[in-house]
């Protein structure tokens, strides 16, 4: 019984999305007290890639930070590096294959995991309540154009940072998901991917969604096509949200077994497992509706590159 949320400001302008997400997560916190997390998309800084790297399971030794930085410096230029909570946050200039960079970092130690990588995307997540997440990472100060978030009630797998959501689609820049439900053919799909050499970081069935989308997108499917394909390939009860640098989407299983409410105005779209989250944050501004079973919907930010140049 997890809670998932999503928000996109349709104009593409940056808002104080951190406090919006925190408000919604707080309202859903009851659905899942085990962990909380958000994935935020903010305008990119030149061509820099932002990484959030989990250094270890418990208090990681400080030399591990240096070891990661040394390793990264052999393939990329480090523009900025800070340790925040359980993460090493890096901004790098790098033109190569993201997977190569990811492997270089994760090769330093088996406990190290690249939690997110992208030009716009950053994921913060940890065990505990949304309020704790704010205390550790200052959620309220996050700004961005769109975001997804998650609050977890663990049913099948461990409770730790890696098993928390959102999940990055390991290896593909700026793609992330959150999920409420069960992917019941997870083990079968996982075996198929593992036979092809794909690494899984957790025992959490939700992780397969990110990996599946990465696989489909790298086969050349559009974001929308990949979402539709998942409706055929996933069994179980699920609602998931997926986001890319400029898109936000939801997918709801063919039986509509998991709740999801969508509130949309000319300015924004807000999505949450329960209407309470929307009522709490957006008051009575908007009417929420529940999409039908087997539905998929995608929102895309306007292309603002031309406008910025003109300004």
């Amino acid at each position: 019984m997890c809670g998932i949320i999503g928000f996109m400001n349709k104009s593409g302008a940056v808002t104080s999305i951190g406090s919006t997400m925190l408000g919604m997560l707080d309202a859903l916190g009851r659905r899942g007290p085990d962990s909380a997390g958000i994935a935020v998309f903010s305008p990119q800084n030149g061509n820099r890639i932002r990484l959030r790297v989990k250094l270890g399971d418990a208090d990681a030794p400080s030399e591990r930070t240096d070891a990661v930085k040394t390793q990264v410096a052999t393939v990329a230029t480090i523009e900025d590096a800070t340790v925040t909570g359980a993460y090493l946050r890096l901004e790098v200039s790098y033109d190569g294959n993201p997977v190569a960079l990811q492997h270089a970092i994760e090769g330093v130690h088996s406990e190290i995991e690249v939690v997110s990588m992208g030009r716009s995307l950053e994921i913060v997540k940890q065990v505990g309540s949304p309020a704790n997440l704010d205390t550790t990472y200052g959620l309220k100060d996050f700004i961005g154009t769109h975001a997804i978030g998650h609050t977890r009630l663990s049913t099948e797998s461990r409770v730790d940072l890696s098993h928390s959501q959102p999940f990055w689609a390991h290896g593909l820049l700026d793609v992330t998901i959150v999920h409420n439900g069960h992917i019941t053919n997870y083990h079968k799909l996982r075996r198929q991917y593992e036979m092809r050499g794909v690494r899984f970081y957790t025992e959490n069935d939700s992780e397969i969604i990110g990996i599946y989308l990465r696989d489909r997108l790298s086969q050349g499917l559009s974001f929308d096509e990949a979402l539709h394909a998942s409706m055929v390939d996933f069994d179980g009860s699920f609602c998931y949200l997926a986001a890319t640098a400029d898109q936000l989407a939801f997918a709801k299983d063919p039986f509509g077994l998991k709740p999801l409410m969508v509130a949309e105005t000319d300015e924004f779209v807000a999505i949450a497992t329960e209407e309470q989250a929307l009522c709490t944050v957006f008051k009575q501004e908007t009417q929420a509706r529940e999409p039908g079973p087997k539905s998929i919907r995608t929102w895309r930010l306007p292309d603002t590159t031309g406008k910025q140049e003109a300004a």
């Binding site: 509509g256 209407e275 309470q276 009522c279 529940e290």
Partner: protein, 229 residues
């Protein structure tokens, strides 16, 4: 009449307020800013009029016996579920499983109802001004479901003595559900109910009842049984 503002109140505090006021003889209670909280006004077994200004979460008015609950907004899953008697009116839309397993009373949804509306009804009436989702009226044992809009897949699957009326399109009839002509008595009853609750009459209704093939097992009808749920 008394009023409770739900802002910063827990569901327990709201429901305790309702019960306390009922025991003190208040016959009309207004509930403001419900913010889609769950379980508002469940299990009330004395007559009272609850007027809720805004949308509610799950199971609003569930298991009641006698009250009148008017939701001036939309309702989440399981509105009025398991009620014995009374009236629940939803001005907006309703989520999955609206009026599931009710034994009596009336549930009115002026907008659309999602999947499994009126599932396993054992009595009572459900009137939907809009459309209903898939598997609505599944295994209805008694009672009436009136749908002014369209019906999703599998309407009336495995019906017993429940009766369903649909004015719009039927995506697909459930197993053993058959269409017959509504009687004049049916028509005048529907007319009265729609007028009573201020719902526009959509025109002609189709009547769905059990084909009675699943009522008793007959191995010669194995093909029907194989495909039934």
């Amino acid at each position: 009449m008394s009023t409770i503002d739900c802002t910063n109140k827990t569901v327990r505090e709201i429901n305790q307020y309702i019960r306390r006021n009922m025991s003190e003889g208040t016959d009309e209670i207004r509930i403001t800013s419900p913010a889609a909280q769950h379980n508002i006004g469940v299990g009330l077994v004395q007559p009272v009029h609850l007027s809720i200004d805004g949308s509610v979460g799950y199971y609003c008015g569930g298991m009641i016996d006698g009250p009148m609950v008017h939701i001036h907004g939309s309702a989440g899953w399981g509105v009025g579920e398991g009620m014995m008697n009374g009236t629940v009116i939803v001005d907006g839309h309703a989520g999955n499983g609206a009026a599931a397993s009710i034994r009596g009373g009336t549930v009115v949804i002026k907008g659309d109802a999602a999947a499994r509306c009126g599932i396993a009804m054992k009595g009572g009436k459900v009137i939907v001004g809009g459309s209903v989702g898939y598997m609505s009226g599944f295994m209805m044992q008694k009672g009436t479901l009136v749908v002014c809009g369209d019906a999703g897949e599998g309407i009336g699957d495995s019906l017993y003595e429940g009766v369903i009326f649909v004015a719009g399109d039927i995506e697909d009839l459930g197993h053993d559900a058959v269409i017959e002509e509504p009687t004049d008595a049916d028509k005048s009853q529907i007319d009265d109910q729609l007028t009573q609750f201020g719902i526009d009459h959509p025109g002609n209704f189709k009547k769905i009842v059990a084909g009675r093939k699943l009522w008793n097992f007959d191995k010669r009808e194995w093909d029907v049984w194989k495909s039934a749920l």
